[in-house]
């Protein structure tokens, strides 16, 4: 296992669209292990995407236990992830290992259903909400070359949240 080095903005490699994973071999397993170790070593330590370490493949790892304890899915290895459903919107302040020293407000869905494969290629489905859902959406953005900087909103946007909005 090894801690990989993180690309930081404005490195153009962060803006590439990542390719789907089609081969689930030992090389992938090793990479997932390294990526996981790199995530835990980072300042946030709760999520990472392969493009952040200069590997343009659709691989995301999220583990929000450092933040939420056991009240979450724990370690999720999301390969070729897709958002199957989402609902609700919430404003939250985000930072990113690839954008050091800056945080900003971003709107994300409050609840999501994500479908992905695990490191062995098995189909998985997760329902996430709140902080965990935010982490997954943030990391999935990296796969399409987006940073949270592409989704910044002004503080005032928070006003438009309704106390009881209809679904």
């Amino acid at each position: 296992m090894a801690v990989l080095s993180i690309l930081t903005y404005p490195d153009p490699r962060l803006q590439r669209k990542a390719e789907p994973v089609s081969v689930f071999d030992d090389d992938l397993h090793h990479f997932v292990d390294d990526l996981t170790e790199t995530m835990y070593a980072g300042p946030g330590g709760v999520g990472i995407a392969a493009p952040q370490v200069d590997r343009p493949q659709r691989i995301v790892i999220v583990d929000v236990r450092p933040k939420l304890g056991e009240d979450c899915h724990g370690l999720m290895v999301l390969i070729n992830p897709e958002l199957a459903a989402w609902e609700g919107m919430a404003v939250g302040r985000e930072g990113c290992m690839s954008v050091p020293d800056f945080t900003g407000n971003v709107i994300r869905a409050e609840r999501i259903q994500v479908q992905a494969q695990d490191a062995s290629g098995r189909e998985r489905s997760y329902e996430c909400e709140g902080f965990e859902a935010r982490a997954v959406q943030h990391e999935m953005d990296h796969l399409d070359g987006f940073l949270f900087l592409d989704r910044l909103v002004s503080r005032k946007i928070d006003l438009f949240r309704r106390k009881n909005y209809k679904k």
């Binding site: 300042p43 946030g44 939250g92 302040r93 985000e94 990113c96 943030h138 949270f148 005032k156 928070d158």
Partner: protein
């Protein structure tokens, strides 16, 4: 480089930001934190600038824009070191039927618990018969978000406004 706080006020029209920032650029200034927004019919700029020589040359560079756009400009030299650099940990949102005393009431309650207002934006809207006041405050509560929740409870009743208190947590992913 020295720092100054530049204040610009003028009747709102297109081109104010462009003219002011272009003038600063030609005077070799760089722009730091800035707040630029329309207030009433006026456009306002408050920004920290770094300038290389003296403030006189900054004023001189701004002069054509000031005359052309009829701006009022003020430059205050400031020390480069912020006395308090607390990051906001609490956002307070207030809305309700507009009436005098909302801001004083809310900020008075916040000051009493040592809350430091870092950013306050407010807007009067709604119709003339039913004016609506909306305010968003971001600041640092030394005793945490719960202390703010407690502090604003009596205000809901007294001022007849809705007050939301939310933690500001920057999640680093």
């Amino acid at each position: 480089m020295s720092q100054a706080l530049l204040t610009v006020i003028g009747e709102d029209r297109p081109g104010i930001v462009a003219a002011v920032t272009q003038a600063l650029f030609t005077a070799d200034c760089s722009i730091g934190d800035a707040s630029m927004m329309r207030l009433g019919g006026y456009f306002t700029i408050m920004q920290v600038i770094d300038y290389p020589r003296d403030l006189g040359s900054v004023e001189m560079a701004l002069d054509p824009a000031i005359k052309r756009l009829n701006l009022r400009v003020h430059l205050d030299p400031i020390s480069s070191v912020a006395l308090t650099a607390d990051m906001p940990n609490t956002r307070v949102t207030v809305y309700g039927a507009d009436h005098p005393g909302i801001v004083a009431g809310v900020t008075g309650a916040l000051a009493a618990i040592g809350f430091n207002v870092i950013d306050l934006e407010s807007e009067s809207s709604g119709s003339a018969e039913r004016p609506l006041y909306v305010m968003v405050i971001q600041g640092y509560a030394p005793e945490g978000v719960e202390s703010v929740r407690k502090a604003v409870v009596p205000l809901r009743e007294r001022e007849g406004v809705e007050i939301g208190v939310h933690p500001i947590e920057a999640a680093v992913f």
